[in-house]
């Protein structure tokens, strides 16, 4: 017994030591986990800031030259393994749809262990009236970093195309839903209508549900009540300044409106080299003074505008004043 009693003390001390040791280790692990989570969160924010900063630099570079001289015209520009603000990034800028001035900016960031891919589809705004804005973001998202690789270009573009198409397809329905939701009197009613109430709850359990939603405040701007000149009147004035003949889209097809054979001349008021029968169709190539340059039956020459009709031009059908000695136009 005596020997047995004397053996307790060390195991007890050992157990206490081990317990405290385990507890301390768990505590350290927990702290490390907190640290990792915080680092992860910071790295994400850092990645986003980095990508946004790179995009700002891309837009700065774009604004240095005009659209027609953009640095990524005709071929994608890749910049790999670039350093900025303590992070690393790969960049790709490329035209998407030049007729719509759209281009894609893909930025793959590496911050710490974290890799992210941010994708902007942007539309350049070429007109001068939008003088406070260079571009407009059509789509933005974060995607699998592996999609950055040039070989997978079509894959990521398709994902974005589909997203945009869905947004367009669902637009009307979304507007309808939003309009219907506006009619709901309380927040709870909206949540219920959206089917977002958790199971086993009803809307009376939502905090503040009894309060009626305030109607949206209205900005107190006023429509102008000043009488203004009509824009169509100004357009009519402008139209009267430019000769109708100069507003034609040539070459075009024309018709002789002369009741007799219309003369084709070698030059305006020049010698007659042929005629166009009444109502016949000719090719109107251009305009020289008061004469159309025409082609009829293989003959190139000039006929007076007063006797040839083309889209947008109603001929006067009167004999024009002619230089002394010149024969009539018809």
């Amino acid at each position: 017994m005596k020997n047995g009693k004397s053996g307790y003390i060390f195991p007890l001390i050992l157990m206490a030591t081990l317990s405290i040791g385990f507890f301390t280790m768990t505590l350290v692990q927990l702290q490390s986990s907190h640290h990792d989570q915080l680092q992860h969160l910071n790295n994400y924010q850092h990645s986003l800031n980095l990508a946004y900063s790179v995009n700002v630099e891309v837009l700065s570079e774009l604004r240095e030259k005009q659209w027609e001289e953009r640095f990524f015209k005709d071929k994608p520009v890749y910049r790999m393994n670039q350093k900025l603000f303590g992070g690393t990034y790969d960049l790709c800028v490329e035209d998407y749809d030049t007729s719509n001035y759209t281009f894609n900016v893909k930025i793959r960031t590496i911050v710490g262990e974290r890799k992210s891919l941010f994708y902007w589809r942007q539309r350049y705004i070429p007109n001068m009236l939008d003088f406070t804005r260079l571009s407009f973001t059509v789509a933005f998202g974060e995607y699998d970093p592996e999609l950055f690789e040039p070989a997978r270009k079509s894959e990521i573009d398709k994902i974005v195309d589909d997203k945009l198409k869905n947004a367009v397809d669902n637009y009307e329905e979304a507007v309808k839903i939003a309009e219907n939701l506006k009619k709901e009197p309380t927040l709870g009613a909206i949540i219920e209508k959206l089917g977002a109430l958790p199971q086993g709850t009803d809307r009376s359990m939502i905090k503040g549900e009894s309060q009626i939603r305030p109607s949206a405040p209205i900005l107190g701007t006023q429509a102008s009540n000043q009488p203004k000149t009509k824009v169509t009147d100004a357009l009519n004035d402008l139209t009267s300044i430019v000769d109708p003949i100069d507003r034609l889209d040539l070459p075009s097809t024309g018709n002789s409106v002369c009741n007799s054979n219309l003369m084709i001349r070698s030059e305006p008021w020049g010698t007659v080299i042929g005629t166009i029968p009444p109502g016949a169709t000719c090719e109107v190539l251009g305009l020289q003074g008061d004469f159309f340059e025409i082609t009829y039956s293989g003959k190139n020459g000039y006929s007076h505008i007063n006797w040839v009709a083309v889209p947008g031009h109603t001929p006067a059908r009167v004999e024009p004043p002619r230089p002394p000695g010149a024969p009539p136009a018809w």
Binding site: K2, S6, I9, I13, T17, I20, F23, T24, L27, Q31, H34, H35, L38, L41, N42, Q45, N49, Y52, S53, V56, E57, L59, S60, R63, E64, Q66, E68, F85, G86, N127, M128, L129, D130, F131, T132, L134, I218, L219, G220, T221, Q222, A223, S224, Q226, K228, T229, V231, T232, A234, L235, D237, L238, T239, V242, R247, D249, E267, L287, Q288, P324
Partner: protein
């Protein structure tokens, strides 16, 4: 054996030593863990706060080109300002709504009161954007705490070049100019206009005239004018798709017109600067070119009017859309557009001729702008501080007349409209009573029997004209012999009228005058219209009297300008001069004139 009943001192000492050691480690770990947890917590909050600052900068620069300046991070020149501030009690713009106060957020307040400082350093990068280093520093239990984010934001410099869809193609311009302006074919412009300066003026005129033609030839665009006006006349709610559609149509009209007129600005400047260079051209070509310069000037003035009407309409409609919009995002978009439209109206206030039916344009424009800013500030006071700052900054720009300096398009538009006004004031043919020349008589032997034809034909006999008028009495023309019309004044006027006026078929000018006087057709006045037939009386040196033609123009003193043939005793050829100079030359008293329409048979 009795000695072994308890623990030895050594055993107890060793045991206590081990236990004590472990406890010390444990307590230290606990202490360290508590500090670290506190630090992580502070660090986490600092990172959230920094992200909020970054987000605020993003929101600010998204709506305001001068957002970084509005936040007080840089000065007017873009140089960094000292930005080091506590974050509690609304001491910084970034944490004003809601403020971090002891009453509202006691926990945060106690933490941020521990020397928690926000420091932002701004640097303007070479590519005209700003790099902001947003840092939080505080006294943490583990030592000095620090957290920062670095991020780029768009800068204030934004310039674009006009890209007009209506620009007339350069490769077709010269051919079109030669054919249309000068009615020539297969000729280079250089063969028609030898002076390089005059050639450039002609090309500039062509760009303006034919680009305007392209705009008018675009049916969908011109039809949108009527559609916009029709829609705006209908009672659509400002939230409706049709209201939005009409607004966008006015905006698009203004956009297309602005791009076109800014594209044409260098051409306008050239015409204003170099128009005198066309004086060296021959009369026919000069006259033809002047016709198109006049039309181009008038067209630009009308484009100005269309632009301002559309901008004013768009501004008014954006205000209405903003008023009824319930989404902040949409309101921000409307404000941006609305402000841009108003800025353009403000800088164009001196050039609003023909935009408003009544009232003073300057007062109307300023009143609407001030009202819009005031209501915007009132509405967003507790909703969006970036809009408040934008509105305050806008007031400052307007008060200090800085809009032109701050927004390059405002400056361009102001210069453009000033140039248009200058051209309009100096268009060829300033006297509205002077008709367009009749170009069919240029280079002809005689006029065509009309007053306009007579005036144009007479001008064509001046130095620089074709001089192809034929004096049938001697078979001469001034292009070959400068004395062709010497002492043949009646024949000169009779040829100008293609011999269709019987009263001109007399032996002398004074006999012609007497015939006119007998018929009661003489008018005694000093403002003869273009083509008027004018007489001075016979004198001792000139017993036949004198006859000449009025141009319809007057000099700066209001004296009529006439065209007269010379004589052996005065000058050779044909000259343009004032009536007084004519009287001094002939020494004969002015008798009066005949209005051509009353005598042409």
């Amino acid at each position: 054996m009795t000695k072994r009943k308890g623990f030895t001192l050594l055993e107890i000492t060793i045991g206590m030593f081990i236990l004590g050691g472990v406890l010390v480690i444990y307590l230290q770990s606990m202490q360290s863990s508590r500090k670290k947890n506190e630090f992580y917590s502070e660090h986490f909050i600092a990172s959230i706060m920094a992200a909020k600052v970054v987000e605020s900068c993003f929101q600010e620069t998204d709506i305001n080109l001068y957002g970084i300046e509005a936040l007080g991070l840089v000065d007017e020149s873009g140089s960094s300002l000292d930005f080091n501030t506590p974050v509690t009690d609304g001491q910084t713009v970034f944490f004003k709504t809601p403020e971090i106060t002891e009453e509202k957020h006691p926990h945060l307040y106690s933490m941020f009161s521990k020397d928690f400082m926000l420091n932002i350093e701004s640097e303007k990068a070479a590519k005209q954007h700003f790099t902001l280093n947003t840092a939080f520093a505080w006294k943490a239990a583990t030592g000095a705490g620090k957290f920062n984010f670095t991020c780029n934001f768009p800068g204030s410099v934004l310039r674009k070049e006009p890209l007009s869809t209506f620009a007339f193609p350069e490769d077709k311009l010269e051919k079109k100019l030669v054919e249309r302006f000068f009615e020539e074919k297969n000729k280079n412009l250089g063969a028609i206009i030898s002076s390089p300066g005059a050639r450039e003026v002609a090309l500039a005129t062509g760009r303006i005239y034919f680009s305007t033609s392209s705009l008018l030839a675009d049916k969908p665009f011109t039809e949108s004018f009527a559609t916009a006006e029709k829609l705006s006349g209908e009672p659509h709610a400002p939230t409706s798709a049709k209201y939005y559609q009409a607004t966008e149509m006015y905006f698009n009209i203004a956009r297309e017109v602005l791009d076109l007129i800014l594209y044409l600005k260098p051409e306008l400047e050239r015409i204003n600067r170099d128009r005198s260079m066309i004086d060296s051209m021959n009369l026919r070509n000069k006259t033809r070119l002047e016709v198109f310069i006049r039309r181009s000037g008038q067209a630009l003035d009308k484009l100005r009017q269309i632009f301002l009407i559309s901008v004013n309409e768009a501004a008014s409609r954006y205000r209405e859309q903003m008023k009824y919009s319930t989404s902040l995002r949409n309101q921000r978009l409307m404000i941006e557009k609305c402000l841009s439209m108003h800025r353009l109206m403000i800088v164009s206030a001196d050039f609003c001729d023909g935009v408003f039916v009544s009232g003073d344009a300057r007062s109307i424009i300023r009143a609407e702008y001030s009202r819009m800013l005031a209501t915007t500030e009132k509405f967003f006071a507790d909703k969006d501080q970036s809009i408040m700052r934008l509105a305050a900054q806008e007031r400052k720009f307007v008060q200090n007349n800085q809009l032109k300096e701050r927004y390059f398009v405002c400056d361009l538009v102001f210069q453009l409209f000033a140039d248009i006004a200058r051209l309009k004031d100096n268009l060829p043919d300033p006297d509205p009573g002077v008709p367009d020349p009749d170009l069919t008589v240029i280079g002809q032997a005689s006029g065509n029997g009309t007053a306009v034809g007579a005036t144009t034909w007479a001008q064509d006999q001046l130095n620089g004209g074709s001089g192809k008028g034929l004096n049938v009495n001697n078979g001469k023309m001034v292009s070959e012999d400068p004395t062709a019309w010497n002492d043949w004044c009646l024949a000169f006027v009779n040829t100008a009228y293609n011999r269709v006026i019987p009263e001109l078929a007399y032996e002398s000018a004074i006999e012609s005058y007497n015939a006119m006087k007998s018929a009661g057709k003489i008018v005694t006045g000093n403002r003869p219209p273009a083509g008027a037939i004018m007489y001075t009386e016979a004198s001792s040196t000139n017993p036949y009297g004198h006859i000449f033609i009025a141009t319809g123009k007057t000099n700066e003193n209001g004296e009529p300008i006439i065209i007269t043939s010379g004589s052996a005793s005065t000058f050779d050829g044909v000259r343009e001069m004032t009536l007084n100079q004519m009287i001094n030359l002939t020494s004969g008293r002015y008798l009066g004139y005949v209005v051509p329409e009353q005598v042409i048979r």
